[in-house]
Symmetry: C2
DNA sequence: CTGAAAGCGCTTACAG
DNA sequence: CTGAAAGCGCTTACAG
């Protein structure tokens, strides 16, 4: 645990010079630099991060705020976080995981947050975490819209859920599907609300009515042992018992899709011959691994993560120039083998 | 951004007293405490974390080191991290994500790590990260054994992979299975090596030979688009094409298990009627969601995470008393519906 | 129970 | 290009 004084003394320079050799904020002569570095290696010296932070007023860390509670990483989360970490590292920032519960923030700050900014995932209506950031004057960017009173402007990244559902419907209807079942996310999530509305709208535009049994919501996350087999049950129920006509199923994640695939096989039907499956998001390597491989809408979560960091860097002044405060990342349809073209098959007859 | 001086002045006390009110390291009179808190609220004051750290020499953060490269969270990782975060929060510590690549650590420390200790996941042989921790005199605990030269003692948490495989074999053989296929993890992982050896040994002890086609390794993680459908292909190949007799398949994670289930259904066989499936680890909620639900060995990753933090707390002096330097967390078999008893069925005939 | 003062290990104007 | 000195915002013996 050598400190700057030790190095300065041994290298016969001032502390300021040692500081400059490491920070490279001011030029140093080759001779001095090498002398300092040599002594530093010898002493195993590295500048103390905390002391530096105290004077620069930068922690070089950003917070990544994840709601605690029933904590679970979907493929979306995993990839998003991956994007955040890599992009942050690129700018020399580390990532501090925060787990402020969405509600009941008891002891808000025992001390200040040792972060320069934060990425807030899944903001809820009037999210306490956002009020805290706002109070603490910590720059932040959210994934999805902020819905807090008293906060007007805010920086965010998001997918366009409305556009996305519309594209999915266009794709499926374009392939001849008119009886589409939608297994949506939890009822309470804002994305799920947006997607449902957009789904109905997109079908309507194409002259197709969406009956109630065509939309289902994933039950709220329960204790794992109580977890219902949502995708499987719904599929067996609607296609098997109720014998409804369904030619395509949209599943809101890869796990649900797998469960649906499972059910279809148990009904002695085939994918995509009898029923097509379309996945929103999900882990690509997993969807390739499936048989048949699953056609999906890639939400580019890792790109979302990277963009959120870039927005933060703009706010922190690390990145210069103009920028959009609200960034929309496009969803991309990745065609694999789980969606059939109904028209073509009929043509062949 | 009020500072301690502002509060001290307004509350008409010394800085030291304000400090005590917040840190509670020395008693303060009610009167003074309330005066200080009232002023602090008014000024929106919170102690500066960095300044405190500089003098206490504690960052109140622990690092969580995850190999970067083909970064992917399995259910094990997710739950492990969850355990780490919650347990760390319990002791007032935050979690800093570290992404030092396993190899090529170029600029080891531009500055010191702002952490008090670290949890290192997946140590590899002669892991550079561990050498760094060792050099930097940062206490750390690993998940799995350390295999570095020059490092003799180390603190770790782990499952007993040998015991675990033995238990699984005992369980399956006990149910009448003698032809068991094992879809193991990546060949290079230490857990996979341990499990393979143990599998062969456990079968041998029971008078059963393991032929080569009975053990397969997951291919190294490739670009997602090149990812082979490992579990599916192997199952179709061995059971379908080669027509080998296999009554039970052990899959090393839930995703592989799903893929196997998929294959078995495509072979017009049933689970567990024709083939049983046993999963090592995996996400419980997902395995319940499957049909049939999947019998598995729960590695208790979140318990492993919590224990690793507790070990760290011991090393940091936060937790007092004696402790084991190497903690083994038991794997628990969770019986669900994917393993049949062959003996019973034959009895019925 | 409270205060005055030194110090944690750096960086940063200010001079030269 | 380099040095001397002040200061970042706290905590902590030391006195009382």
């Amino acid at each position: 645990m050598a400190k700057i004084d030790d190095v300065a003394r041994l290298a016969k320079v001032s502390k300021g010079t040692v500081s400059n050799v490491f920070s490279q904020k001011r030029p140093t002569s080759n001779e001095v630099r090498e002398r300092v570095m040599s002594v530093s290696r010898q002493l195993n010296y590295v500048p103390n991060h905390t002391a530096r932070s105290l004077v620069t007023k930068k922690t070089m860390a950003i917070g990544l705020t994840i709601p605690h509670g029933s904590f679970f990483f979907s493929a979306f989360h995993t990839q998003f976080i991956n994007g955040v970490i890599l992009e942050a590292a690129y700018y020399g920032y580390r990532v501090l995981l925060d787990i402020i519960p969405v509600h009941e923030v008891k002891t808000p700050f025992l001390t200040s947050y040792p972060i320069d900014g934060a990425v807030v995932m899944r903001p809820t209506a009037n999210d306490e975490r956002i009020n805290l950031m706002h109070m603490g004057q910590i720059p932040f960017v959210t994934v999805g819209h902020v819905m807090n009173e008293n906060i007007e402007h805010s920086t965010s990244v998001d997918n366009d859920n409305v556009q996305m559902m519309s594209n999915i419907c266009e794709y499926l209807v374009g392939k001849g599907h008119t009886d589409i079942m939608f297994l949506n996310a939890n009822e309470h999530m804002t994305v799920s609300i947006d997607r449902k509305a957009s789904f109905i709208q997109a079908m309507k535009v194409r002259g197709l009515d969406v009956e109630e049994y065509m939309i289902h919501h994933k039950p709220p996350e329960l204790n794992s042992s109580e977890y219902m087999d949502y995708g499987y049950e719904e599929t067996i129920d609607i296609l098997g018992k109720q014998k409804k006509k369904v030619t395509a199923i949209i599943a809101d994640d890869d796990r649900t899709a797998f469960s649906v695939l499972n059910a279809i096989k148990d009904l002695n039907l085939s994918v995509p011959g009898d029923v097509s499956i379309f996945v929103i998001c999900g882990d690509n390597s997993m969807m390739v691994q499936s048989n048949p491989s699953l056609t999906s809408m890639d939400l580019q979560p890792s790109e979302l993560g990277a963009q959120s960091v870039r927005l933060l860097m703009h706010q922190l002044g690390v990145l210069q120039g103009d920028y959009d405060e609200n960034i929309i990342v496009e969803g991309k349809i990745i065609e694999r083998n789980s969606v059939s073209t109904i028209g073509h098959e009929e043509d062949r007859k």
